[in-house]
Symmetry: C2
Subunit: 334 residues, 2 copies
Amino acid sequence: MSVTIKDVARESGVNISTVSRELNDEYGVHPETREHVIAVASRLKYRPNRVARGLVTGRSNTLGLIVSDIRNPFFAEVARGAEDAARAAGCDLVLCNSDLNAHKQIEYVHSLLAKHVDGILMNSVAVLSRAQQEDLAQCPVPIVLLNGATSRRNFSSVCANNTAGGSLAANYLLKLGHRVLGHITGPRRNGNLSDRARGFLTAVTADERCPPPLVLNGENSFLGGYELTQRLLDGNPGVTALFAANDIMAFGAVRAIYESGRRIPQDLSLIGFDNVELASALHPPLTTIHQPKYEIGKAAVEILVARAGKHADRSPEFRVLDVELIERQSCQSV
Amino acid sequence: MSVTIKDVARESGVNISTVSRELNDEYGVHPETREHVIAVASRLKYRPNRVARGLVTGRSNTLGLIVSDIRNPFFAEVARGAEDAARAAGCDLVLCNSDLNAHKQIEYVHSLLAKHVDGILMNSVAVLSRAQQEDLAQCPVPIVLLNGATSRRNFSSVCANNTAGGSLAANYLLKLGHRVLGHITGPRRNGNLSDRARGFLTAVTADERCPPPLVLNGENSFLGGYELTQRLLDGNPGVTALFAANDIMAFGAVRAIYESGRRIPQDLSLIGFDNVELASALHPPLTTIHQPKYEIGKAAVEILVARAGKHADRSPEFRVLDVELIERQSCQSV
DNA sequence: CTGAAAGCGCTAACAG
DNA sequence: CTGTTAGCGCTTTCAG
């Protein structure tokens, strides 16, 4: 067995509560006693058992992070921001991959709750039924979501200004003289991606010189981007610019575009969203909309930490972070 | 407060120990009693408190994963394999990013130990001093490492056959007729990368038609790959093939190669290592050595789980997984 | 098959 | 400033 508070108390000739105080409070312990206890504790290599502490305090100093898949570079970046912030607040972060599957999401939430985490960070509750969402809202710990629209104001949320980002992409393409535009995106009703689409559509539609843009829904992945782009190009050879809902899909698009015999940007301009690290590694380097992924994770954890604990204010907070156009070389004027 | 085992006991008119048995044992409870207790428990939406359970059983059903940075797609994939396996074994996975920093690594280990995790998965202990490594080996829970060489046989480990992978890359390039070869890699004494370099060097040196290959050490990142390749190309315009220690560095290399006015593979062949998802998204699609990242994470957790618990056999296990050449379009014969 | 009781390691009143 | 005493919610002997 490992050394416990009792051992330290016995070895240093004081009561365990004195040791406990010494460990937690700043005050209430005689400096001399404190010195002594500290010495004994470190000689014994005493490490307080955090689970025992958690049992009595009701706080576990653990946060849950439920993403669809950590292999998605967007979530990896968010996770890093979240973990750094959690660590700074003295918390652990437990990682869960839900594949955006309702059943798994619920399972994870229950598992985390059973472990009495102090808060939960989820990327989306859009796949949950109305009833399940109501259920979640009753959750005894704070939850923060990584998208805006679907939150129904029951949960805190932090996300990029996706709508603005969509418009930014549209206006950039418009300014370059493009008129027949395409947009490939993920499944319908995906909070963040839908917002991007909305922003894009609004901006394009507002320009009377443009026909309605072509938008195709599909799988949010490299392969999805690839297939959607093939379909779009096959059916609409006249399109001169393409907006991909995120960089991963843009990567798939690049592949499909090259295979169709077109060049980027000479024959077709391409713009992505996210600004993942490898966007600049692409050939040509991908023009994209930057969103502050690391900061999103960080902000989410900060919101959680502020709401953790029995008597914290639980009123939801909604934070929207700015996006930014990153001009590289995958777009040119017509 | 949430509903506890006491509430269930009271509501169903039995003793808490009966409820506890019902929850854990298969036998020893009268079927009728059991039915009744189950009914009450689910009516009350009872969820056993896992931290309380952990306190008495000594097992937390939690595993720690310490990687250098989850944003590295290799680790993201490992993490996913690990998390899936952990979940299958009923465990949580807590994520830690060490940046390969000795101090952080130690901190994380202590933090995880204080939380009484059942096992720890670390990518490497190479940055730790000899003494720190000895210390770690005394750890009360099993540790599995993600590299072979540095483990000093004190820890279990699972990794790809990096040496074989290095040779595979070399022989492939040799077979294509290349003779003046370059290799860009991470810092010296990085277990896995060093093994790749060794395998590569051995194979090239064995071929008498080849001059000794040029190997450059630098930062293990996109930027590192970029800078190293610039330097290599500047100093040695005659090189016809390049082996990058991993795909991320290969991505950086691509950028530098294009900027130097060379084409891939016409002017320079390039081969990577890892086979990350985006390797096929590159232009041209990257030829690389595949290593089973997901399976590495999965295997590591299985080793841990088998060694968790007080009386498990802790004798270290060393698993080496096979690698495979993935031929795409970034290499051609001279 | 079920109940009573002890205790995991720690914190938190409450006395002193 | 320090000791005593209850528990936190659960498992686990030990009786019955």
